[in-house]
Every structure is written in structure tokens, then in C-alpha cells.
Symmetry: C2
Subunit: 285 residues, 2 copies
């Protein structure tokens, strides 16, 4: 995670920077249904970085690691022109066959997403100052804090990933680039068409207000804004129904929303709403 590429100077505290970089790495393990094991950090610091600042980055990561049972085992510190954090994380499964890839989606599968979408994108819009001040005030401090947290301190869905893998997930990906772009990865790798219902997307609280301020359809924001680090999963219909994941008291998945299905057709993602098929839902936000 590189300053100026994955986050901007001054928008995040050092502790948030450390947390977010580790969360992004662990999110890839979540998407495989792996048990997270060890993490290693290579920290590249520009001249003039204070010891306090560097320690706060490590602390942010260490606290997330501890809360997830991940062992932050070591790493390295080096000088560099730009601040960058490189986390390497190792995940485990008792059998390689338990791990979920991106290429197993098949026509007939149902497509689900965990949690809520668009929150991180809205949080970033607030940090960017893209939302007029009076609208920011009207959001209320709790919503503002929640949107900021969705961007600044995402939590990798490790428990949800393992639960969905055990439930028979055939393909899974974490939403770092946004649902439109990440579902496209699943579609291309699996060689299938994925139809997603824009009206079914679980839009995070506050996203509608921020989207309105930006003259955007909130559903578009939920579909294309990245960095929510939720999971998008393809499950065979029988397992999806049987598992009844929404009703199970699985702490790991607070919610799972069914947002579409896998169909025959040329590989790719199509968004629909009550008016039919929509175009232009590439990663545009």
C-alpha cells in the first residue's frame, strides 16, 4: 500500500494506515476461505518520518492482527522516497481443496455479497472534501464516523469467508476495486455471465446522501466504489437455499444479500434494474 497511490498524505492517521494496509492483505485470504496465520511487514519510510509515526503504523496493524488472531511475526524497515507498507500474509487450510478460487462459478449459481456497499467510497468522498459542508453536517456525526471507518479501518471478512467456503462457495472475491470490477474478474476467470440486480445491492447508511451531493445514483456508488473489502460469492442454488445463511446465527456474517445469479452467455457482468439491462457500469467511480 503506497502513499499517493492507495491513500493520500494527510487523509489517514498513521494508525489507520497500518490497520488498512494489513486489512487489505488479509482480505485476500478471506476471499479464499483461508484461516489467516502469519503476517510480515516491510515498512518503507521517507526521510524525516518520526519514530512515533512509524510506531503508530505498526500499532494500528498489530491491534487489528491481535483482534483477528493473526500473528504479526516480523519484517523489515527501510528508507524510501515514498511511504509504503508491504504486508505479506500467509493463510492455511487443512486441505488445499477447501480453498475457494475465482474460476469455479457455474450457470445456476446464486451471487451474494456480505455486509453493505459504498460506505468506503462515501467515506473517501468526505475525506476528499467533495461533499459540501452543509450536507456533511446534515449526515450527523455517527454516520460520518461510520463512513470514515469503512474507508480508514476496514475489517477483513475472514470468518465470513471460511463460513461461505464451508457452505460450498464455488468462486469468491473480495471487493477492493468495487463490485462491478471484481465480479468482472469472477466472470472472466470462470467464463460465465453474471447478472446483478442494482435494486438488490445493500447500500450502506449515508451513501444515498453522499451520492446525492455528488449527483450520483447511490446504487451506482454501491456498484462501482471500491475498498469496502466485503466478499462477493457464487454459491450453487441448492446450497444457497439450504444453508439459509441469512437465518443462521453465524456471527461472522452479519448479513448476506443475494444480489444476482450466474447465467450462460458471453463472459462478463451485467447490471439490471426494474427498467432492464443497464450499461456503463464499469469501475468508474
Amino acid at each position: 500500500m503506497v502513499q499517493g497511490v492507495h491513500f493520500r498524505a494527510g487523509q489517514l492517521s498513521p494508525q489507520e494506515i497500518g490497520h488498512r494496509a494489513l486489512a487489505g492483505a488479509l482480505s485476500d485470504l478471506a476471499a479464499m476461505g483461508a484461516e489467516a496465520g502469519e503476517a510480515y511487514l516491510a515498512l518503507a519510510l521517507p526521510a524525516g518520518t518520526g519514530v512515533d509515526e512509524a510506531e503508530a503504523m505498526v500499532r494500528g496493524a498489530a491491534e487489528l492482527a491481535a483482534s483477528l488472531g493473526v500473528a504479526l511475526l516480523g519484517g523489515d524497515v527501510t528508507r524510501a522516497p515514498t511511504l509504503a507498507l508491504c504486508f505479506t500474509v500467509v493463510g492455511w487450510a487443512s486441505d488445499a481443496g477447501e480453498l475457494v478460487g475465482r474460476d469455479g462459478a457455474r450457470p445456476g449459481d446464486r451471487v451474494g455479497v456480505t455486509g453493505e456497499l459504498g460506505g468506503a467510497g462515501a467515506g473517501l468522498a468526505l475525506l476528499d472534501g467533495a461533499v459540501p459542508g452543509d450536507l456533511v453536517q446534515r449526515l450527523g456525526s455517527q454516520t460520518r464516523a461510520a463512513l470514515h471507518a469503512r474507508y480508514a479501518t476496514p475489517r477483513p471478512r475472514l470468518g465470513a469467508g471460511r463460513t461461505l467456503a464451508a457452505a460450498g462457495a464455488r468462486a469468491m472475491i473480495d471487493l477492493s476495486d468495487g463490485l462491478a470490477a471484481d465480479a468482472e474478474h469472477l466472470a472472466q476467470r470462470s467464463g460465465v455471465r453474471i447478472e446483478l440486480s442494482l435494486d438488490a445491492l445493500p447500500v450502506a447508511a449515508g451513501v444515498s446522501e453522499v451520492a446525492a451531493a455528488l449527483s450520483l445514483d447511490p446504487r451506482r456508488m454501491a456498484a462501482t466504489a471500491g475498498e469496502d473489502y466485503e466478499l462477493c460469492v457464487c454459491l450453487p442454488a441448492p446450497q444457497a437455499a439450504e444453508a439459509d445463511l441469512l437465518q443462521q446465527p453465524v456471527e461472522a456474517i452479519e448479513t448476506l444479500s443475494w444480489v444476482g445469479s450466474v447465467v450462460e452467455g458471453p463472459p462478463g457482468v451485467v447490471f439490471t434494474d426494474a427498467d432492464g439491462e443497464l450499461s456503463g457500469y464499469e469501475h468508474s467511480f
Copy 2:
């Protein structure tokens, strides 16, 4: 390994950059006597980097990995303002007690170094254009190529590290900063005084000529130039004698030179020669 910090643009081929970055990471495993297992690469590329160039970096690392039985298992690619390669390597031992740290040196130990010293520093001096052209020519193409290789494509001493660990090494470090600086780490961590004989240092072929061109004592170059990635080891005297490492047909250690001893005294490194104790042998080259 960051461009502009650990290597300079234009001095190394992409393949050498990949090789060297992995070698530097594996060298730390060698210094612990660990069996090298897996390697992961996070590659940060500035805009405009060609695919050929990026692939050549990976190829350089992959070829070194294959030659050492190391599994280059994956990684990530990202955009960044500066070229950087972050290798995370995982080493193994059947028992944690087999691994060698930096804090076990005790008075009475003998101090040895593998291979030859100063070659990488001389190779870098050639790349820097610090040596006059006529002297460069006089070195001969074979010596020039050998010095370049010592800098550009070092080989981590994994076999030597395991052999020395099995022989009873009490403390070990790889020579990335140079013998003077790295032995100082051993001295400080172990709380001992290390006396090194400048005349006993194994000076690599060609170093004398390059040092002369730079008006340097070649022994100083061997003592203070870094990036040779040889090992410095402290062995109890009986084991050092018994093991008779120099005579054993251990392919892993081509040579092991005894260069000093661990003594009582305030923690630190002292260099001596026929004239007695020398001063100013900090990492200065």
C-alpha cells in the same frame, strides 16, 4: 529493495535487480541456519515500466529461487512512484533451537567469515565509474565480470549457514552492511568484544587493484564495504577446531577463513594488524 536507495537506476539489468533483491532476503535466512522455504514478491512499478522489464525482474528472481530449491509462490504488483521489490521469505527448521541468532557469541569463540570480502564494493566502484578507464582495462575482463557479479548477483550462503549452524555456531550474521558494521551488531547483541585481524581477511581478487585506484587500503575495503552477503560466524573454539570446516568436502562452504576471536571487554569490534589496534573502522566505505 528500493531504487535510489539500494541500487541505482541504470546500473543493473532488470534480471539482476530481481536476483539481487531475492538474494538479500534469503541471506538473512542463511545467517540463521534456516532451510529456505517459500518466497513472495510484492513488486512496485513506476508508470512506464515495460512488461518485458517487469517480467525480467521476476525471471531473475525465479531462476535464483529454482537454483536454490526455493518456491517463489506468489505476490502482488502495484503502481508506485519508485521501483521497489519486497521479497518476504519463510525459512524452516525442524526445531527452533537449531536456528542461530546474533546474541550467543561468548568470549573464547573463534570468528570466521565465508568466501571472500570486498568484491561487491569493488564491483559497485566500477559501476559508479570511480575507477579510471586504464585501470579498469588492466583488471582484465574475467576479474571485472567477477566483481560485477559479486555486486549484481550475490548468492546467499544457505548451505554454509546450515552447515555452520549444525557445527555449533553460537552467533551468525550475513554481511550486508560490511564486516565492520555487521560484526558490531553481533558484538552489541551478544555483549562481547570482537577482535578481528585485518591481515587475516580474505580479500577478493581484483579488490587490491580497485582499492589502489581509490587510494584505499584493500583490507579496509574488505572490512567495511557491504553487500558481499557472506556470513560472519562465532564458533566455540573446540567445535571450530574439531569441525575442521576448511578441510571437509562441504560443497556449501568453499572456504571459511578464521579472522578473529571473541574476548572479554566492553561490547564492540576492534580491528588489529601487525602494528596493533586500529581505529576508524566503522562502516565508512
